[in-house]
């Protein structure tokens, strides 16, 4: 069986499964998100079936798509008859698929095709009889469709369909070329491409942008969070889109932490509209140190939003520590720099930062400075050597390293958390999540 057919069959089976689950949920309770989701699945199924040349499947799905489109637009009642058609239609498609995978007899296929056309006719009848009289103008129709806008429908996919979430989570910033003639299509392309390779969880551009009479053509940046099964290094080739000048990608780690139960808090925390007081939390983190802040806020039982944010920071911290992005070395004895040098050689490749903890050693003599400078240069390619110092003597250390800035620029931080936040520009990222 060739690869394309195999992929199509696998994907279609999954989509059918999702669609079925959608309908079941809709039976229990109607929700615009679910029906939109269902519409999209059917739409996708139609598209891929037509591409494979399976017109019998494609036509049936087309009818169902029309039906669902009217339903989500409010022009058709989502009632038992409609649900029935959905179930029957999907069931027939599923059986046709089975046949394509393992053909039984010709008569079987003919039978299925008859079923398909019967269902199509039922759908036509349903629409003819029940389609609401109010002739909505084209603009009204467009508005209704946009109610659950382009971006929200993509976002809901990511949120409600946990099965489609990839195992890796990334934060990405896209910068669009100045020469791009129009912004909206480029943004849509990006979002759609991301949707193809994974699930969108957050977008800095919302439905309002696309709904506006004249979208802001000056916008040049799009920030998103998404999950995908692809690894970081594979992403750039999948995200080659016209008019995108640059893409910056930050790995947020496994979307499902290794060996731990799925963390709903983490996923909820990424809903930008639920986050409150993020900047306040970060300020405290900066002043008190991340660990203390987490303890304090947890015991104080602060507002839901803040707790979630801190859970997010904690997760980031734990993850980052697990990945050993930063390691700290505390000097002991006179010849600590050669020990430091040996230590640095043992570190795994994933380590980005080596922190020298000078909390108890605020005065660094000339010889040590010289050695530190040369060590920093030695490590340059692999690791960045940074200084960690806190407390009353901190200012002296800051002054020392400030004085030698011309020769070597050592970054000085209060603690590991700060170093990481700074290095990975996470502060900027968290800050942006906090803004509405």
């Amino acid at each position: 069986m060739d690869i394309m057919l195999q992929t199509y069959l696998e994907e279609t089976e999954e989509l059918l499964q999702s669609a079925e689950e959608c309908i079941i949920r809709l039976e229990i309770e109607y929700s615009p998100q679910e029906i939109n989701e269902l519409f999209r699945i059917v739409h996708t199924l139609k598209g891929s079936s037509q591409m494979m040349g399976y017109d019998d499947i494609g036509d049936l799905l087309h009818k169902m798509e029309d039906m669902l489109d009217l339903a989500r637009g409010g022009l058709l009642e989502f009632d038992e008859a409609l649900i029935g058609n959905c179930f029957d239609g999907l069931d027939t498609v599923s059986r046709m698929l089975e046949w394509k995978k393992e053909p039984t007899s010709d008569s079987e296929m003919v039978h299925l095709q008859n079923l398909a056309s019967e269902i199509s006719q039922r759908v036509d009848e349903l629409i003819r009889l029940n389609k609401k009289d109010e002739e909505k103008s084209d603009e009204d129709k467009r508005e209704t469709h946009l109610e659950l806008g382009f971006v929200s429908s993509l976002l809901n996919k990511g949120k409600y369909n946990k099965e489609t979430q990839g195992k890796n989570k990334f934060y990405a910033t896209f910068v669009i070329e100045e020469e791009a003639p129009m912004i909206s299509p480029v943004l849509m392309m990006i979002l759609q491409t991301v949707d193809e390779i994974g699930s969108l969880l957050y977008s800095s551009v919302s439905d309002e942008f696309f709904n506006a009479q004249s979208p802001d053509e000056n916008l040049r940046e799009l920030e998103i969070i998404f999950t995908t099964d692809f690894e970081g290094r594979e992403l750039s080739k999948h995200l080659e889109i016209f008019y995108v000048e640059s893409i910056k990608i930050t790995d947020l780690g496994q979307s499902e932490p290794r060996g731990k139960a799925q963390d709903k808090v983490l996923n909820d925390a990424l809903d930008s509209t639920q986050i409150l007081g993020l900047n306040e939390a970060l300020d405290r983190a900066q002043n008190e140190g991340l660990n203390e802040t987490l303890d304090n806020v947890r015991s104080e039982g602060r507002a839901k939003g803040q707790r979630e944010i801190l859970a997010l920071i904690e997760k980031a911290q734990v993850f980052l520590r697990e990945k050993e992005l930063i390691r700290t070395f505390k000097p002991e004895g006179k010849d600590y720099i050669s020990t430091l040098r040996k230590y640095s050689k043992e570190l795994p490749d994933s380590t980005l930062l080596l922190g020298l903890d000078l909390r108890d050693l605020p005065l660094v003599c000339e010889k040590e400075l010289r050695e530190l400078i040369s060590l920093k240069r030695e490590l340059e390619e692999k690791l960045e050597l940074v200084i960690l110092v806190d407390g009353p003597q901190a200012r002296r250390v800051v002054n020392i390293f400030d004085a030698i800035k011309k020769v070597a620029e050592f970054k000085v931080y209060k603690n590991e958390g700060e170093a990481l936040l700074d290095t990975l520009n996470l502060r900027e990222f968290f800050g942006k999540l906090g803004i509405g």
């Binding site: 010289r370 200012r395 800051v398 004085a403 030698i404 011309k406």
Partner: protein
Amino acid sequence: MSEKYNILIVDEGEPTLQTFKESLTLQGYKVDLYSKGQTALKKFKEKKYHIVLLHIELPDGDGIELLREMKEYDSLAQIIIMSSNSKMEKIISALEHGANDYIHKPVTPEILRELVDHSIAKLERWKKAMLHLIQ
């Protein structure tokens, strides 16, 4: 030599100083201007400032006290006092508390420039001396 010095201006933000901030920024210095003493002190403790232009008669507080706290936190910072009220005891008090320079308002851009250049020259000399030790 505009090797990334950080300059802090604490003043109500009169136009001369605002313009001065802009011209310094254009030359590559990092300049921050705060009109409230408490905010300025907080920021001073968060980030390393090499030079401070401090208006001693700020509306919201005691300029001398601010000077004292800043000097205590980082005595290497060069703090230039600006005064609009020329009582002698204020000036003496400031210098006693460690002010590195003093100037009477209204200030002109030329004078400000001279003062900042002077402080930078000093810092540069110190740096050179220290670097000499470790090279």
